[in-house]
């Protein structure tokens, strides 16, 4: 494995960039004596992360739980809807415009309504995140289920394949790459939905998520904690994304172009 090796580069380069950026930031903050309530140094953020962990840790879990539950529901419900759309043109024509309408309306605008309508705040947050995350699952899976090689479709027809055989052996595998691409987008959107909904709900107490901690720290001009909470949100998003990439590689690695190692 030399330096030009893609896998090495994929790890080394981002680390180098991070080191340069964080190092420069640290130096600049120290050199210009920037007050901590404007821009805290990375070292201070790290310290805050440790010292405030009793507050931030549980909040991270709350936000993660909302995100994961919403993500799971979005994937299950979105896939189900995609199957319905593909089975019946009627259902698709009737429902698809509303899926689009829901997608293009900003969640910040819908969230207050949902929070009024749904008694349990946790449930309301999940509903908001599902609304944001579900669209790419529906759109991609529907597209995938339709993107069947016409030659293979003819072959299945010639051999008198049942509808079930065609679905399981042809449509589902053909849709897999599209589905996983949708999954990647949806994982990030679920987190965004959860955080935005938390902001709108402003829930404190036991069920306080990271967004609430950011809001509270903002009121108190506790900028280091804002940064620490922000870092946790980013970390959560990146981890989720990495998990979907790993899943996708597991499922498609053997055959799909997107997951093959580049040949040189």
């Amino acid at each position: 494995m030399g330096w030009g090796d893609e896998r090495t580069l994929r790890v080394v380069m981002p680390v180098v960039i991070a080191a340069i950026a964080l190092g420069g930031w640290e130096l600049a903050v120290r050199a210009y004596d920037v007050p901590r309530y404007i821009v805290p140094a990375p070292s201070l953020v790290a310290k805050t992360l440790v010292s405030d962990w009793p507050i931030l840790g549980p909040s991270l879990l709350v936000t993660l739980r909302t995100t994961l539950v919403a993500f799971a529901i979005a994937v299950a419900l979105g896939t189900l809807l995609a199957f319905l759309f593909v089975q019946s043109r009627w259902i698709e024509l009737s429902l698809f415009p509303y899926a689009v309408a829901l997608q293009v309306t900003p969640i910040v605008a819908i969230a207050p309504l949902i929070i009024i309508w749904v008694k349990d705040t946790q449930t309301a947050l999940v509903v908001c995140a599902v609304i944001v995350a579900i669209f790419p699952v529906i759109a991609n899976t529907t597209l995938g289920l339709r993107s069947v090689d016409p030659g293979l479709a003819a072959l299945f027809r010639m051999h008198k394949a049942s509808r079930m055989q065609e679905l399981l052996r042809l449509r589902v595998p053909s849709a897999a790459p599209y589905f996983f691409a949708g999954l990647r987008v949806a994982s990030g959107l679920a987190l965004i939905g959860a955080v935005v909904a938390e902001f709108v709900a402003g829930t404190g107490g036991e069920a306080a998520g990271l967004a609430y901690q950011i809001l509270q720290a903002g009121y108190q001009l506790n900028v280091p904690r804002m940064f620490a909470a922000l870092a946790l949100v980013t970390l959560a998003g990146v981890s989720l994304f990495a998990a979907t990439v790993w899943l996708s590689r597991l499922a498609l690695g053997k055959w799909h172009e997107s997951e093959l190692e580049r040949e040189r």
Partner: protein, 254 residues
């Protein structure tokens, strides 16, 4: 085996693809449909496979209609222009597909898959994925998939059109050997005069727009045929005759 009578095919757009096609496929022959691009020869083959419906006229398979295809003694297999393999499945799984769709017992289909892969010379590639194979090898897998069902009629739609000349020549020769050894009945579509003469017992020439039968020539040459045949005077004669049929067909229209 297959009888096509006074067949017309008109597309919904109004384009007449085929007009007044009448032909009969006899058991054991290797019949080639030869014609320029867009003459409807692929469409004709799809109708003969039961993949497309005729607008007028009749097609019958062993005296029955399309619904009886797939019954014992009425197996039709189709080889497409492209390999048309499932990229997510291994070579063996691709070849096994038609057997699985027909709910054949696993042990029986495993044996059929092994035999079919041996026939096309791909014994060692059962576990490979299609993307790991060259275009010619993928086409062999496609042929193995068709042969695995032990078809009573094999329809091939320009199967080697996308391959380079050398690979094509090799696959033509291999196909001919398979045809002889397995006593296949084949209908083969091509736009290459040379391929038609080399392979066929009989060639039907189609003209374009609308597709009609412009002529027919029996290639009454002994088998096995090899490279000596390709360079023989007789080969050249057949080619010349078919070429002029093709030219006449297109001039009659213009």
């Amino acid at each position: 085996m297959v009888d096509v009578a006074a067949l017309d095919k008109v597309y919904p757009s109004g384009t007449v693809a085929l007009r007044g096609i009448t032909l009969a496929v006899a058991a054991g022959e290797l019949l080639t449909l030869l014609g320029p691009s867009g003459c409807g020869k692929s469409t004709l083959l799809r109708v003969m496979a039961g993949l497309a419906e005729a607008s007028a006229g009749t097609v019958s398979w062993w005296g029955g209609d399309a619904r009886r295809l797939g019954e014992p003694g009425r197996h039709v297999a189709f080889v497409f222009q492209e390999p048309t393999l499932m990229p997510w499945a291994s070579v063996a799984a691709n070849v096994r597909l038609p057997l699985e769709l027909a709910h054949r017992p696993r042990a029986e289909s495993d044996r059929a898959v092994r035999e079919a892969l041996a026939l096309v010379g791909l014994e060692g590639f059962a576990a490979s994925y299609p993307r790991e194979l060259s275009g010619g090898m993928q086409m062999r897998v496609s042929i193995a998939r068709a042969l695995a069902t032990k078809p009573d009629l094999l329809l091939m739609d320009e199967p080697f059109g996308a391959l380079d000349e050398i690979t094509r020549g090799k696959l033509d020769a291999d196909l001919l050997e398979l045809w002889e050894r397995r006593h296949l009945t084949v209908v083969f579509v091509t736009h290459s005069v040379y391929e038609a003469v080399f392979l066929s017992t009989r060639v039907m020439v189609l003209s374009a727009r609308p597709g009609r039968i412009a002529g027919e020539r029996v290639i009454d040459e002994p088998f096995p045929r090899n490279d000596d045949f390709r360079t023989s005077l007789r080969f050249a004669e057949h080619c010349r005759a078919l070429s002029s049929l093709l030219v006449e067909a297109s001039e009659a229209r213009a």
